[in-house]
C-alpha cells in the first residue's frame, strides 16, 4: 500500500513538472537562427526538397553515421545474446512450427512484393517526399515480418544478407570520404551534380546515401527479426 502511494505521489510530482507546459505553452513565432538558415538556404545549397533529409544526411551527416553505428551495434548485440540459444535446444530437434492458414499465406504472397516495393520507394524518394532510409528500411523489415508470419520456417539467406549489409555500410563511409576529397567535407553531397530541383536524380549524393542506409537498415532489422524468431 505504501509503495502504491509513493508511486502515485511520484507520478503527480512528475506530471506537475509538465503542467506548465500544457497550460501556458506559446509556440515560437519565429524559427531559431539555425533552423532559419536550414529552411532558407538548404534547398539552394544542397538541392533537396525535403529539408529534414538535407539536415539528416548532409548538415548533420556525422550524427547519422553514429546513428547507423548504434543500430549496427544493437543488431550485433542481439545476435550475440540470442546466438547461444540454438545449441542448447539442439538436444531435442525442434519441431517445425505450424504454417499459417491458407488465407494468411495467400494474402502475404500478394502483399509481400508490394511492401518491399513500397520500402524501396520510400528510401529512393527520401530527398523529395516524407520518408528516407530509416523509414524505408523499417518498411522492408516489416515485409520480412509478414513473410515470417505466413511461413514460420522460412529462412533468410545469411550470406546475401551479410554481404548486402557490409556492402552498404562500407559504401556509406566511402561516399562520406569522397565528400572530403571532391567537395567541402565529410559526407558533403555536392561531389555529384545537384541536378534539377525536385527531380529523382538530384541533390547530389543524397539519394545514393539514403539508398545505402535503407538497404543497411532493412537487412539489419530483418536479421534481428529472424534472430528473435529463433533460426
Amino acid at each position: 500500500m505504501a509503495k502504491r502511494l509513493f508511486i502515485f505521489l511520484t507520478l503527480l510530482a512528475v506530471a506537475a513538472m509538465f503542467f506548465d507546459f500544457a497550460s501556458h505553452f506559446r509556440p515560437a513565432d519565429k524559427l531559431s537562427p539555425l533552423a532559419e538558415h536550414y529552411v532558407a538556404e538548404g534547398p539552394q545549397e544542397l538541392g533537396a526538397a525535403n529539408l529534414v533529409t538535407a539536415v539528416v544526411v548532409t548538415y548533420r551527416g556525422l550524427d547519422t553515421l553514429g546513428e547507423v553505428t548504434v543500430l549496427f551495434l544493437s543488431a550485433a548485440g542481439v545476435g550475440l545474446l540470442l546466438a547461444g540459444r540454438r545449441k542448447r535446444e539442439d538436444a531435442e530437434p525442434q519441431e517445425d512450427l505450424h504454417p499459417s492458414s491458407e488465407l494468411v499465406q495467400t494474402a502475404v504472397q500478394f502483399l509481400l512484393p508490394i511492401a518491399m516495393l513500397f520500402g524501396v520507394y520510400i528510401f529512393v524518394n527520401g530527398h523529395l517526399t516524407p520518408g528516407g532510409g530509416f523509414q524505408g528500411g523499417a518498411v522492408i523489415a516489416s515485409g520480412t515480418l509478414l513473410l515470417f508470419l505466413a511461413l514460420p520456417n522460412a529462412k533468410l539467406h545469411h550470406g546475401i544478407m551479410g554481404e548486402l549489409e557490409s556492402f552498404s555500410g562500407f559504401g556509406y563511409v566511402l561516399v562520406g570520404l569522397l565528400g572530403i576529397f571532391l567537395a567541402g567535407g565529410f559526407l558533403d553531397n555536392r561531389f555529384l551534380p545537384l541536378g534539377d530541383f525536385g527531380r529523382l536524380l538530384s541533390a547530389g549524393a543524397m539519394p545514393l546515401i539514403y539508398v545505402l542506409i535503407g538497404l543497411k537498415v532493412g537487412t539489419e532489422l530483418s536479421v534481428v527479426l529472424e534472430r528473435f524468431k529463433g533460426e
Partner: protein
Amino acid sequence: MNWVGLYNYWIVIFLMMTGFYIVVSQGNLVKKLVGLNLFQTSVFIQYISMGKMPGGTAPIESSAPAVYSNPLPHVLILTAIVVGVATTALGLALAVRIKQAYGTVEEDRIREEDRNV
C-alpha cells in the same frame, strides 16, 4: 487559458505518466519495455508539437511560398526513434536470455531464484 488548443501536451502528459507508471509498478520485464516505449512516444509527440509554427506546413520545399515548421525537432526525433528501436531490440533479447536462465521474466521470482542459489 488556451487549454483545449494545447491538447497535444495533455496527451503527452497522459502517455508519459502511463508509461512511467507501467515501468515502476510492473514486475514483468516485457511489460516494462512496453512502458518505456510508451514514455518514449510521448517525448516524440512533445518535440514534434513544439516544432510546429503557427500556420506552418511540413518542412518540404514546394513551389508555393509557405511557412515551414522547424525541421530540427523532426531530425532529432528521427534519430531518437531509431535509437529507440535499437534499445528495444536489445532489451527484448536480454529478456529472452533471462527467460532461458530463470524460466520467468517476473522480477520478484527472479530475485527469489537468486536468493535460493
